[in-house]
Each structure stands twice: as structure tokens, then as C-alpha cells.
Symmetry: D2
Subunit: 214 residues, 4 copies
């Protein structure tokens, strides 16, 4: 299982969470990574934790003031990137452009989407993985695998129908090791989570709980 901890713009210490991610990653078969804000990529990558960007823009080198260039994210230490997160929805043409930009820079890609139909669409753009996050469940603490298992199964079916090589991750509401196991049972190969780890008093303990049943 792939476990990606999204730090959003939370008031957490990104280095402390990254240290926890790096430490727990060494103790488990799961692959654990952390996605800080762009301006924190470099200091997070320096911890040795697997570091992801939260977003890259559908751009190339050039006149793009204020945008995130995939090559610069990579230069700062990112090895992958989220694209089209529900808090940063992109135009269809720009999801495509961002996947191409990330590929060009050697970044692994996870394209997020709301429902199985959009997951099929995201998979058609050729990312490494897609992540299904029903907007109604984000930040609720209710895991999608429990509240709406058909969404996860539908997402897995939709992605497979389009491209069997695209992995499906599961977001929204994941907070315990049981949630991760339930997500895996529904056919997902990883989870996106955020507050459960980033806002935990002890991020390392929270991560250890998550990977414990794996």
C-alpha cells in the first residue's frame, strides 16, 4: 500500500511530519510519503522522506509568474505530484497538461477525482494512479471505504475499464489502520490522508497505527 500524507496548508511543522514519515517508512512494507507546500519541498526532501508536490501547473519553462513548474518541484526534491485535488480542480485540458508536465520532469502522478465517472476520465489521461475522494466525505473522519464502498469499487472498475495499469488510491476520511485495510479490500492500492497525521499530536504514532495491520 502507498500512503501519502497531504500537509495542505495546515499549520503543522512539515519537517516533523516528514521525519515521522521517513521513520515509519523504514519499519513497514507500505510505502509512505509526504506532500508539503511548494515552498517547503526542499526542507522536507532533506529529511530523506519520500516527498511529493501537491500540484504542478500545465506549463513549461517560460513566462508563467506564480505558477508551479514540474521541473522546479523535482529540483526541490519532489518525486511525484498530486494533480486536480478537490481543493485545486483543473480544467480537463489542464489535467492532461499537468500529467504531461509531470511526466516530462520525471514526477510520478496521482490524479484526483470525485466519482467513478471522473476516475475513468482521469485514468484516460495516463497518470500512474488516480485517487477517488468524494467531496462530501473530505475532512469528515468518515472513511469512503465505510460510508460509500460502492464509490471505491466503482472507481476501481472505471479505472480498469480504461487502463489496467492505472492504480486506484482512496482518499477522504481515512484515519485508522482499519480504514487502510478496508480500502485495500475494495481494490485500492493506496490512500491519501491529511489531518489524521498532519494534525496529530504525535504524527509518528498516527502513522504507526495506520500501517500496523498491513
Amino acid at each position: 500500500m502507498f500512503i501519502l500524507v497531504n500537509l495542505k496548508t495546515y499549520p503543522c511543522d512539515p519537517v516533523a511530519v516528514a521525519d515521522a514519515v521517513a521513520a515509519v517508512d523504514e519499519t513497514t512494507d507500505a510505502r509512505v510519503a509526504v506532500a508539503p507546500q511548494a515552498a517547503h519541498l526542499e526542507r522536507v526532501a532533506e529529511t530523506g522522506a519520500e516527498t511529493w508536490a501537491q500540484h504542478v501547473d500545465p506549463i513549461d519553462y517560460g513566462s508563467n509568474t506564480g505558477h508551479t513548474l514540474a521541473e522546479t518541484a523535482a529540483d526541490a526534491g519532489a518525486v511525484g505530484t498530486l494533480i486536480n485535488h478537490s481543493e485545486h480542480r483543473l480544467k480537463l485540458a489542464d489535467v492532461d497538461g499537468s500529467v504531461r508536465a509531470a511526466d516530462r520532469a520525471g514526477l510520478e502522478t496521482v490524479v484526483c477525482a470525485n466519482n467513478p465517472a471522473q476516475i475513468g476520465a482521469a485514468a484516460a489521461l495516463g497518470p500512474d494512479a488516480v485517487a477517488v475522494e468524494p467531496p462530501a466525505l473530505i475532512g469528515t473522519g468518515t472513511p469512503v471505504s465505510q460510508a460509500d464502498p460502492e464509490v471505491v469499487e466503482g472507481a476501481v472498475d472505471a479505472a480498469r475499464n480504461v487502463d489496467e495499469d492505472v492504480a486506484v488510491l482512496c482518499g477522504a476520511g481515512i484515519s485508522t489502520g482499519d480504514d487502510v485495510v478496508a480500502a485495500a479490500d475494495l481494490g485500492s492500492e493506496g490512500v491519501l490522508l491529511a489531518s489524521g497525521v498532519a494534525k496529530a499530536d504525535d504524527p509518528k504514532a498516527a502513522l504507526e497505527d495506520l500501517v500496523d495491520p498491513l
Copy 2:
């Protein structure tokens, strides 16, 4: 073949073009329709021409000042709608929402996209048809079927791989009957065109030329 004449915001007389569309539609096996601006839908529909909207928003009845409700487009006489035209790109989640809104209102749907990957994505959202319009060719007078036939074939393959029931239209640069035949030969079931008819001195003659070889 389906021939959809997009009037964009051209300074043409929408009723005159609609009259031509209605007249030519009666003389040919092709299905000919016209897409005026929202504020012209009603007077265009009154000509008897098959009338399409250029866009509908991913909304329902409610507090959406300045947006286009699918039910209102239908009420004004539209029977179908373009979605995600290259001049009105939408977020992936909103392409999905606009297709759902159009379905709800009984409008037929054509989702536009730039390239085969995006055509696959568009097809995954379940529209009636998709239309491939390489941005570089729009308005050039060079038909995609001639400049880049692989794009049309790739689009047909991409759509079929995702959903065999989704028809593929071909946009960008279509201006003659030969272009329409070439598009059909590449597997497309219709064409989108705009200036070739809307800006013609004699729209009826332009349409007659288009459908002549069919």
C-alpha cells in the same frame, strides 16, 4: 453525418443562418443543426432549425446568477449542447457536472477536447458524442482530417476503447464537402464547423456544398 454549425459570437444574422440550416436539412440525409448564443436560442428555434446551445453550466435551479441552466436552454428551444468547447474550457469535475445537467434537461451532449487522450477522458463521462478539435487548427481553414488524420483516428480509437456508444465528431478547419467525407472516412460521425458557414455570404450555398458529397 451530423453537421453542427457553431455561430460563436460572430456578427452574423442567426435567423438567416438558421433558415439555411433548416432548408438544407430537408434536402439531405445528413442531420444539420445550428448553435447560436444563449440569448438567440429562442428566435433561432422558432425557425424550425435543429437548435443547440453552445454551453451549459454544471448547475441546477437555484442561486447561479449569470450562468446557463440546461433546463432554460431546453425551454428556449435547444435540443442539445456543446460542452467544454476549446473557447470555453471547463474543469474536469464541471465537464462531468455539465453532462449530468444536460442529461437531466433532456439535451443531447457533445463534449469537445483537444487530443485523443482528452477524448478518452471525455468519453468516460458518458456524453452522447465527443468532438476532437486540435487547438492549432481552429480557424485555420485547414481541416484536421487533412492536416493531422492521426488525431482523428486516435480520437476514434480512444473513445471506442472507453465506450463504444460514444460517437466522435471532428472539428477545426472543416470547410468543404470533401473535408466532411474525409472526416467520415476516418471514422467520425459528424463535424463541427463555424466560420465556413456562419461567415459565408450565402450560408445556404455553403451548406449545400458541405452536404453535396454525402
Copy 3:
């Protein structure tokens, strides 16, 4: 006072509301107008009611599929337009472009904004009027003149500081004649309202109540 009834995408009968607007406008010193959806402009204008668009895009004649051209809104019968309504926020450069487009087409302009600072900014773009609508009050039934009179006074001051010729309207929560009087007492020269009239069982009676104290 100017009273503009915004029909949004409500499931109301736009012609019935327009008839009420036209009837009440004849019986009062206030100026009463109605803003239907673009596809309803023509049939609303035919009632004889003063008709406004809910939005125009910052475009000219040309290749702008799915957008609202100011000239077309005028051609369909609009004499003015809202711009930058809180349900249709525009980029700063596009608010400017939409005001220019509306001027070009002879449409009167009301630019909406959230707070006094943005009202000052809107006034600097040279519209005929600005309308302050604190987002927190929209749809609450609590008039801004009562919940937050400083916002209205602040908006009037901000507009006057920039351009004394720009009138200030007051939106959000207006539903009674007393609300209109309170708005006038705070220095506003009109009101925007929506559900209070558009969703009323008897729009004419609702409008008569609104203009009664004027």
C-alpha cells in the same frame, strides 16, 4: 430608488415576474427592472419591463463559444447588466473588460462587490453603479442595512472617494419596503433583490410592498 429583481436560475416564470415588474413600475416613482437568464432576455423584454442581463463577458464579436456578448444581450432587449455578481466573480481585468464591453453596447452597468474596499476598486473601473453584497448575508433574509449598516456606509464612502458619479446599490437580504428605506437612508440609490420577489407567490404584491414607502 432603483429596484432590480434578479431571477438567477430560479424555477420561476420569468414572464410573470416581468409582467409584475412592468405593472408596478408604472405606479411608483421608483424605477423597477428585472434580470432574467440570457436565454429568457427576449421574452422578458417583450413584456415591456425594463430588462437587464445578469452578466456579460469581456469579449467582442468573434470566436467566443458559449460566452455572453454585450451586443447580443442588447439585441435581445437588455438595457443594462450586472457584472461580477457574487455568484459569478470575475478576474479584475475581466471586470474592466466587461464594463468596457457593456459601454460599447450601450448597456448600463452595475458592478457587484463584497465589501467597501472592493466597492472602491469597482468604482475605479467607471461603471454607472456598484452594488455591495456581503456574501454572508446573501439569501439570509437579513438585510445588510440592518445586519451591517457600516458596510453600506463604508461602500458609499469608498465609491464617493474614487468617483462621485458612481451610484451605490445595496444587495443581500432586502425583502421589505422598510429594508429599501433603510438602504436609502444609508446613502444607497437602489437595491438588488432576488428570492423576495422571484419566489413570491404573488410577485406583484411583493413589489408593491417594496415600493410602498417610497
Copy 4:
């Protein structure tokens, strides 16, 4: 004069340019600063050069995946930020929100705009400075002060009319010391520039030329 070198997403070495900025800043009365991409803020700030962000979002701490938080830009070493650059246009409400966010984080603010009307609007939002960059001149190498001096004078007048405390900078086409002097003569208190320094073979020499006549 304030001279801000925008690195955009150019393929330049941000540390090399920052070193040049820091070195030249010490030799002149002008104030020289550099605006790298978000992911490069930290390493640029470590050079000792005055460091600016290219953009901040109108957000607070919280659930804002992929956005730029003003506090994080500050934490990474930025002391100011561009807002609403012509390559990153924002909604009017979001220009306001971004200025508030930057103020909250202690960042100095420069809001960009296209023309005198928009400069007045930007000034009404209370930034520290505004910058006028006619889109037609960006990247041309023709300085606005030469091609269209009325735009700069108009911008200075528009800003002063709204708020005398808001400084006016001049962007687009600045590349020589004479351009900087001309901008100052027209009433501007600084310049934005990009390729002239960022793409120079010798950024330090380019900067020395710029500040030489000051």
C-alpha cells in the same frame, strides 16, 4: 527606485541571479530584490538577497491543497509578494483576499494591473504599491515608458486619485538604465523586470547597467 527581478519559470539559476541582486543592492541607492518560484524561495533567501514571492493565494491556514499560503512564503524567506501578475490574473475578490493574506503574514504587496483604470482599482484595495504592465508590451523589450508614456502617467494619476500612499511601479519592456530613469521621470517609484536580468549571460552586469544612472 525599487527594482524587482521576476524569475518567472525561466530556466535560470535562481541562486546565481540572487547573488547578483545581493551584490548590486549593496553598491547602489536603489533597492534591488528578486522573485523566484515558490519552491526556490528558501534557497534564494539564503543568499541574503531581498526575496519576494511571485504570488500568494487568498487563503488562510487550512484545507487548501496546492495553494500558496502567505505565511509559508514568509517562513521560506519572502518579505513581499507580487499579486495579480498578468500571467496570474485573479478575481477581483481574490486580489483583495491576497492583499489581506499578505498583510496578515507581514509581506509587502505589489498588485499588478494592465491599465490606468485597473491601477485605480488595485490601489483601492490598499496594497503598498501597484505595477502597471500593458500586456501588449510584456516581453517585447520595448519599455512602456517609451512606447506608451501616457499609460504610466495615467497609472500614477489613477493611483494618486484613490490613495496617495500607494506607490506606482512600471513593468513591461524595461531593460536598460535609461528605461529606469524614464520610468522615474514619469512618476514611478520602481520597475518590474524579468528576462533582461534573468536571462542575461551576466545578470550582475545587467543589473549594474540598470542602476548605473540612479
